[in-house]
Symmetry: C2
Subunit: 272 residues, 2 copies
């Protein structure tokens, strides 16, 4: 099926998920929406986040997407299920794939989850892990400063290391062997987080797991783009839409995606 | 005149301005609007900020306020003048009072300004200082991490000190003797900033200066609340409106205002 895949996020963070999708599914057309005009979602109420998520999805649906990836942990945690009920299009968030990978990975049954205030308050990661294996102990912690640090390029600085140590000391103490990076910004700080947690703790990147899950679902449902089996495989087209001026999206997007981002269109999302 | 004063901000930061207004004008009724549902303004485009500012002001005008204080540096810098033109009500932002105080304070003619990306890009502080005295050299710098650090209570930490040193080293090197805290969050970090800058540099709190300017204008225009001259002077009433659920506003607000905040009402600002 040659319709595009829709991916949305509260801003640029979801591009770390898009990056994995582009790698695994190079022939797919992708429409990405980043709600940079109302970013960030992580500190807002469930009601506001649900309202924003409904508008983001309505926008993607208008583009006749065949499948929607909610690349925002916060929206996945508190709003996606409720909004998805109103549509026939299949949608996945980043929480379930991350939870599944962690449940499979842990040897000692102790898993840590870090994310925004809203993601952690929702307890969605813990619930999903317990659906898979109720015996796993889940320790959840909000690390809100990681988002601005990642955005400001404070990746490998002493200050970032100190803040990570502050945040993660408890995770260390409770003896987790697996840590879910439950926010799309956190993979940018993976090096610092890994250093603080030590080499006995495996980091799970929810974005990476979500791209894999998306691939499986599209394959099972016969929704993969037929271009994929053509030789040579043709590259999909990637289009980007944002809710503020593109100029503010472009430089950060390039850093998060790891390649230059063009074809960025402005959209008035409050009208959806 | 017994109509209330309107104060608005992108979120909780403006409460540091409200605090000064409550101190100087205890008999005035105040309606405060905090746009926490769309916070923060500092990284957004001029167009979005102007649109949000117009809605914030329309909301306050509906409350028959006699005077409006734009307590948000970002909105003051990029949007206030344009929106204010459509109204007869007098309005002030936080930039001009801060600029005036700095121009009067400096002895060596070298002033620093720190603020959000949007405030600094607008160059409004520098322009206003040059309107007063074109010979003053102005050095402007965005310190975007100060906002999340202040909100997360990272006030007196080693990490905050390191980040402040990173940001402010240049300010130190160029030899300013006066530094404008051009963001309502920064007074919360005044201790760290003062320590990094040393005791030869005077910090200007734009919020404090704005409260003084508001007092002067209301007195000149005969708009002070007549209660003020009654003995004993009656306390004004303070009402708070926010664009997300009040529960998320209350704890931060108490920290920023320095006293418990109640009577918080939710408003759907996108309808204005």
């Amino acid at each position: 099926m040659d319709a595009p895949i829709g991916i949305f996020d509260s801003g640029v963070g979801g591009l770390t998920v898009a990056r994995e999708v582009f790698k695994l599914l190079p022939s797919e057309d992708v429409v990405y929406f980043g709600d940079v005009g109302r970013y960030p979602y992580g500190g807002r109420s469930k009601e506001i986040i649900t309202n924003f998520t409904a508008q983001d999805i309505a926008f993607l649906v208008e583009h006749n997407v065949k499948f929607i990836i909610c690349a925002c942990n916060t929206a996945s945690a508190v709003a996606l299920d409720e909004v998805a009920r109103n549509y026939k299009i299949k949608m996945i968030g980043v929480i379930k794939p991350g939870a599944q990978a962690a449940a499979e990975q842990t040897s000692n049954g102790r898993v840590g989850v870090i994310g925004t205030h809203a993601t952690i308050s929702s307890n969605t990661y813990a619930r999903m892990i317990h659906d898979i294996n109720p015996d796993i102990k889940v320790f959840s912690l909000a690390c809100p400063l990681f988002v601005p640090l990642a955005e400001e390029g404070y990746i490998d600085r002493e200050a970032t290391y100190l803040i990570a140590k502050d945040y993660l000391q408890t995770m260390h103490d409770v003896g987790i062997d697996t840590l879910i990076l439950g926010c799309t910004h956190y993979p940018l700080l993976a090096k610092v987080i890994a250093e603080v947690m030590g080499n006995k703790v495996t980091l799970i990147d929810s974005g990476e797991e979500t791209a894999r899950a998306a691939y499986m679902i599209l394959a099972e449902d016969g929704l993969l783009n037929p271009r994929m089996s053509q030789k040579p495989a043709r590259q999909g087209e990637h289009r980007f839409f944002v809710s503020d001026v593109p100029e503010k999206f472009s430089p950060l997007a390039t850093r998060f995606l790891g390649e230059p981002v063009d074809k960025i269109t402005r959209v008035d999302i409050s009208g959806y």
